[in-house]
Symmetry: C2
Amino acid sequence: MKTKKYEELRLHYKIWFTDDNDKGILGDGKYKILKAIDESGSLMSACENLGITYRRTWNDLKSIEKQLGFPLLEKTRGGADGGSTILTPEGKKLIRAFDDFHEKMDEIMQYHFALLKQQLLSDE
Amino acid sequence: MKTKKYEELRLHYKIWFTDDNDKGILGDGKYKILKAIDESGSLMSACENLGITYRRTWNDLKSIEKQLGFPLLEKTRGGADGGSTILTPEGKKLIRAFDDFHEKMDEIMQYHFALLKQQLLSDE
DNA sequence: ATGCGTTATGTTGATTTTTTCATATCGAAT
DNA sequence: ATTCGATATGAAAAAATCAACATAACGCAT
């Protein structure tokens, strides 16, 4: 009964960065957007890929850059292809750092979570 | 400019457990409630201590036990002191495991976050 | 039997978040 | 100059979350 429940347990986590007033800057959600933009080259296609609304995503991006105070994106409007959005070098650097961090955390978390399950399943 | 922003960066994170359908079971919020109940011996005083509403907390607790399928709490009503809520041994075990996990993660996260900051502050 | 403090639960109203819709702007290509 | 596909932005509608209030049940003490 209870042991079965514990074995089915899954771990989830979210990380986010804030400024020194704990006001959010960048988290998992916004990171995903930036990554999708980097891969697709435009905001619109990034939104379609992720299944999220353009309107909301646009707000999110605006808030990131407002918080950080320097641009992560380079946007163009008009032209043959309608426009584009790509990451600045600083933007790429940021998502790479975030990526690396996540990779490490995934590994460490799952390892310790396995230990926790054992702790729960043991009879004391 | 940008480097200053990075130095001011703070890390936050949340962890939570779900069942195998990713339906939430226990997270930081509910963990805090359980811990406060353990320390105070009643739901009401736990809520006052945490500054959260009784009504909402009661709903949260109900959902935990519904998800887990076995009780974490032992409640009594009436009597000289009006009633009480205490953790079952299984409940105590769970919050202890969560506690241990959090402690480890806090340490590991902060360590790797420091590395990430260095990565961001370095010029490439 | 009345009072007291706590658990238990419904309901309603407020607040916040998220979606949806509508519209404007831009610039290359035709 | 018109079309096209993308960015840019406002505003309203809808949904989800949260807070507040009211009320009942319970059982020991007096």
